[in-house]
């Protein structure tokens, strides 16, 4: 299975569907040919924030990106899933993927969909750590390395797909002007030209990076990734059902906030859930070339205890 899969990829790195045994759903992945691009907003673009500047050239390697945002059906399989060893690939296979254990999220005490719908609606309110653990779980179940996109990969797909160049934003995105105050089922607007849905709007999407307003002044050129060392703020992209059009832009950078856990009355606060972020979700990517075990281990970020002091 692994062999034939690798062979197909070598011949034609096209789109594919990742089946996940025993769960009754699969993940559609779209191939994205890497390359160089100008990240950020132009100096003279006064409509854009300073944190989107300077525009700078970076490159990203080939990868696949999920066609859709992760849905509640998919995310709940993780939250309420079983975590016995029989659920995953062999121990030696997992070791190659830098995985020594897979931990499940705690079940939430309240309704994390805020009554906006479950099933094929996008999952929300998960922390970046939880989103990364979901990737680890999918990796452990499939034996294929999945992770969150880097901020650069996310913007590359958004720009390459001309997502914010459509004649009408309302054709491609659910946002403040057309969402009626809630998220919608994934894939119900037009995709971008790469065939990827909801890059802008519906739910803002986690990427792997620490947010720093001046990262673009010192970003490496190849596969940039601002590796997080602090819990807050981290980057989310794309804007959501509640945002104004200004945030629905390929260059717009948003950051996580500790008050997204406002209603969590405990100390320490949950590693897994926000209580006030029903506009945050994510999608997954898969690098075309699977990184080394050492490199993969860097992507499995550790949880940082949240004392609610930020």
């Amino acid at each position: 299975m692994g062999m034939s899969c690798a062979l197909i990829i070598a011949q034609d790195p096209g789109n594919y569907t990742q089946d996940i045994q025993g769960l009754g759903w699969s993940i559609d992945m779209v191939f994205v040919e890497g390359g160089s691009f100008n990240m950020g907003a132009a100096k003279n673009d006064t409509s854009r924030d300073e944190n989107e500047k300077p525009m700078h050239e970076v490159s990203v390697d080939d990868f696949w990106m999920a066609e859709y945002e992760v849905t509640w059906e998919q995310y709940d399989s993780f939250v309420y899933g079983r975590f016995g060893t029989e659920q995953f690939k062999s121990e030696s296979k997992l070791a190659d993927l830098g995985i020594d254990a897979v931990t499940g999220a705690t079940a939430p005490y309240v309704d994390m969909s805020f009554g906006m719908g479950k099933g094929s609606f996008p999952a929300t309110n998960m922390t970046q750590y939880a989103a990364i653990m979901y990737c680890k779980w999918i990796t452990a179940k499939t034996g294929v390395f999945y992770r969150l996109p880097t901020e650069a990969e996310w913007e590359y797909v958004c720009k390459k797909g001309g997502t914010d160049k459509k004649t009408s934003l309302k054709e491609v995105a659910w946002f403040g002007e057309n969402s009626n105050g809630k998220y919608n089922k994934t894939g119900t607007k037009k995709p971008n030209s790469l065939g990827i849905y909801d890059m802008l709007g519906n739910v803002s999407e986690w990427v792997l990076d620490q947010y720093s307003s001046d990262f673009y002044t010192k970003s490496p050129k190849e596969n940039p990734w601002n590796i997080p060392s602090e819990l807050y703020p981290r980057v989310v992209r794309g804007g959501s059902w509640k945002d104004t059009s200004g945030k629905l832009c390929c260059t717009s950078r948003q950051k996580s906030k500790s008050n997204w856990k406002m209603q969590d009355p405990q100390i320490p606060k949950s590693n897994w859930w926000y209580t006030d972020a029903p506009f945050i979700g994510f999608r997954i990517v898969r690098p075309k070339t699977q990184p080394s075990k050492t490199q993969i281990e860097k992507y499995w970020l550790e949880a940082i205890v949240d004392y609610g002091m930020n």
């Binding site: 309420y80 939430p108 309704d111």
Partner: protein
């Protein structure tokens, strides 16, 4: 910043202030000796019950007022107390977390020693013990923040009601952690309902439907008493069942908005999904109809079953319109004839868990008097009434329920880990579960 720079910048600040204020009448020597503000009393805080919630409440108290320091802690378990102390020590410096080793009190009865040390007391143990803790704190003349629910049995409710009156007599402040009362979208909705925007409330539906909470499985070295205390959520005497422990929030909103407490209840419940060996003796669902003196009928549902509809909110139908509220700062009022009346924008609303402490400490400082205890007791009683209805399958009136002599919780002083627990498992490790139509104890 090291000490030297700190002093320097402080002097600089004082100097600059004197220039701004004219600098005419205070010689520098007087300035350095006399504070410019009236020095507030340092209030000493004790936390009883050092779980995640007690730790959270302690941090909110410390953030509410900068002249508060934590001086004493009490918990049944050393490990819980140590975790809490370590977490708080990472958040605040040692001027704020000033708990000497001799002021860390562990085990049954330790609450008294911690309460003795402080001015303001946080009560955040499992609710079964709350009445005893509250009674002692008020007897000793302390201000109190106590978590909901405030009891698990009727004798406990009566103790809290009697103690609430004593708190009034002594002018002590008591805030109960029914934090929706301190949340703007709820306050706005209450005000608008009072003003008649949707007419008299005729009916409503209140929900806490979710997947459930943590389980702490039995360990071999634990006595039965330690097991029940560790895995307290699943034992009625400690927790009151989830209709009290969580759903009280939504039932309390019904009482608040209607302005009454129910006269009777009937309902159904049981356990179907969550019935494993570590799930004690509580139900996984309750559905109750509460009847109010003015005629309103409220449907109350709470469920702990994964994979089912999740919902935590309150809806009411008035004579001329309806309301929707939830803890996510939402509030929508609609007129049947004129459409939407109000849609609260809660984007920048303050954290109600913080606001309740801000109000408590502001009231203590100003010599004010807040006392949430009576409503806390009556809303807890409403949930107990609902539980009695689902456990028995009968119509239960408020009056009958208030006459219940059933004591679920033993006196804490004198308990040990070897004490006989209030409920005991059978040979298979299972506990007696209430059976509607059969169970008569209420």
């Amino acid at each position: 910043m090291d000490k030297k720079t700190e002093n320097l910048s402080r002097r600089k600040f004082v100097k600059n202030s004197s220039i701004v204020s004219g600098g005419l009448f205070l010689a520098p020597s007087i300035l350095s000796a006399t504070p410019l503000y009236k020095k507030e009393k340092m209030l000493k805080l004790a936390v009883i019950g050092c779980g995640g919630r007690g730790t959270g409440a302690a941090s909110q108290a410390l953030k509410a007022d900068e002249n508060v320091k934590l001086v004493a802690m009490a918990d049944a378990f050393q490990d819980r107390l140590d975790d809490s102390f370590n977490n708080l020590s990472k958040m605040f410096d040692d001027k704020r977390i000033d708990v000497k080793p001799s002021n860390k009190f562990v085990g049954f009865g330790s609450y008294k020693k911690a309460i003795d040390e402080a001015d303001v007391i946080i009560l955040a143990t499992p609710p079964g013990f709350r009445p005893q803790h509250f009674e002692y704190a008020i007897e000793q003349g302390k201000h109190v923040f106590m978590e909901k629910p405030v009891a698990t049995d009727v004798p406990g409710i009566k103790k809290v009601l009697a103690t609430a009156r004593k708190a009034d007599e002594k002018n002590l402040n008591v805030v109960v952690g029914l934090q929706r009362h301190y949340q703007l979208n709820y306050q706005e909705t209450f005000k608008r309902i009072q003003e008649g925007e949707i007419g008299k409330i005729l009916s409503g539906q209140v929900y806490w439907d979710g997947a459930g909470v943590w389980v702490r499985p039995r360990q071999e070295n634990w006595t039965e008493m330690e097991y029940q205390m560790r895995n307290w959520y699943y034992f009625n005497w400690l927790c009151g069942d989830h209709i009290l422990e969580q759903h009280i929030h939504n039932i309390d909103v019904a009482n608040w908005f209607i302005g009454e407490y129910p006269i009777s209840a009937q309902g159904m419940g049981g356990r179907e999904v969550r019935k494993g060996i570590d799930h004690g003796n509580i139900f996984d669902r309750h559905f109750v109809e509460f009847v109010y003196p003015g005629g309103a009928i409220i449907s109350s549902q709470c469920r702990h079953q994964p994979g089912c509809m999740s919902r935590v909110s309150e809806s009411f139908q008035g004579a001329t319109g309806n309301s929707y509220t939830d803890a996510g700062n939402k509030a929508i009022l609609t007129s049947y004839s004129n459409g939407q009346l109000f849609n609260h924008n809660g984007e920048d609303d303050k954290n109600p868990y913080q606001v309740e402490h801000n109000k408590l400490f502001a009231s203590i400082r100003s010599g004010g008097h807040i006392n949430d205890a009576e409503n806390g007791a009556k809303s807890t009683m409403t949930a107990i009434l609902g539980r009695m209805a689902t456990y028995t399958g009968k119509v239960v009136t408020w009056e009958e329920a208030m006459n219940s002599k059933q004591v679920l919780v033993p006196v804490e002083d004198g308990l040990t880990w070897d004490s006989v627990a209030p409920v005991l498992p059978d040979a298979d490790g299972k506990y007696v579960i209430p059976v509607p139509g059969v169970t008569t104890l209420i």
